[in-house]
Amino acid sequence: MPAKGYIEVNELFCKACEICVTDCPFDVLALDMERLTPKGYHPAYMVNPDACTGCGICATVCPDAAITVYRYDRKKAEA
């Protein structure tokens, strides 16, 4: 199954609280231990992007409004 959606994490706001990582029902997210944000946190990123449904749960629970959610529009792509 191809991904139904994707998210972007604004690294200015992410504080590595891990709440999105825990709450994503499809285990899409992880903290990136290889990188640091300008504030010195390991940002959340899509470790398993193919599983993302674009459900938006991660954005709902993020305390720092760091997440933007998109859904792919495949019908439009075929048309």
Partner: protein
């Protein structure tokens, strides 16, 4: 990876009313969720340009830096008095206070009871995190029986320090209260329900139906000495039995309101 060849539509982004300042809140603190919900609701109601917020004293003392609309800062506990004055002079404005449990239920208990009893047409967003966060985690009126804080190091002893104050229940007994509910910010389902309650509380003000308050159970991972994820479980396991979620006052006019 992101598929650049497939069109995608935006389904959620950070509300503009939140501004672009990074908050000073600790990682995982759900003050941030409450801020976002207020910003989303005011945007959805097209009220951003017509709103005046009243910040309180506590961790949310800098709330005026985080919302991209008019804000004032009240003395400790006095936000309801300041909001009363603003709303009475500018009745067409949407006026709300944003207060913690130390601010609202301790030093400011008289003010909030007065505002509710007078049926002031203001909206109150009340953050209950069971301690004084800003000053280092002291016991608040909302601290749970047995809860260890920096000023109750062996746990709150109800014989000496009394029982937690259930603010929503208490204010619901007052005639001037139109809408008094308790919600929680500990998971996506409850966050959605909290947003709906905040929307209703602002609609109650717009329609002039009376005093409206939403109590929100909120995490303080730093002073609870828990990770952000553990802190959310602590709300569910420890706080919710003492502070049950629910609707404590829905006046008949509010019951007829469609949100």
């Amino acid at each position: 990876m992101v598929l650049t060849d497939t069109p995608a539509k935006l389904v959620y982004e950070r509300p503009e009313a939140l501004g672009t300042t990074v908050t000073h809140y600790c990682p995982g603190c759900t003050h941030g969720v409450a801020h976002r919900l207020v910003a989303e609701v005011l945007e959805e109601m097209s009220e951003v340009g017509n709103t005046i917020g009243v910040a309180s004293v506590g961790c949310s003392v800098f709330a005026y830096n985080y919302f991209d609309f008019d804000f004032v800062e009240a003395a400790h506990g006095r936000a309801p008095a300041m909001a009363t004055g603003i709303k009475r002079v500018l009745p067409d404005k949407t006026v709300f206070t944003y207060q913690g449990d130390g601010d609202l239920a301790s030093i400011g208990m008289g003010e909030i009871v007065g505002a509710a009893s007078r049926g002031e047409l203001i909206t109150v967003v009340f953050i209950n995190n069971a301690n004084y966060g800003m000053t280092g985690g002291q016991m608040a009126p909302t601290t749970l029986p047995g809860q260890k804080t920096t000023s109750s190091p062996t746990g709150r002893d109800v014989k000496r320090q009394g029982y937690p104050i259930q603010t929503a229940e208490l204010l619901s007994t007052l005639e001037g209260s139109a809408y008094i509910v308790r919600r929680s910010l500990h998971n996506s389902r409850e966050i959605r329900r909290a947003k709906k309650a905040i929307r209703t509380a602002f609609e109650v003000q717009k329609k002039g139906l009376g005093f409206a308050l939403v109590e929100l159970l909120s995490t303080c991972p730093t002073n609870w000495h828990l990770t952000p994820v553990e802190a959310r479980d602590w709300i569910e396991e420890r706080m919710m039995p003492v502070f049950p979620l629910g609707d404590y006052k829905i006046s008949s006019a509010v019951a007829d309101l469609k949100v």
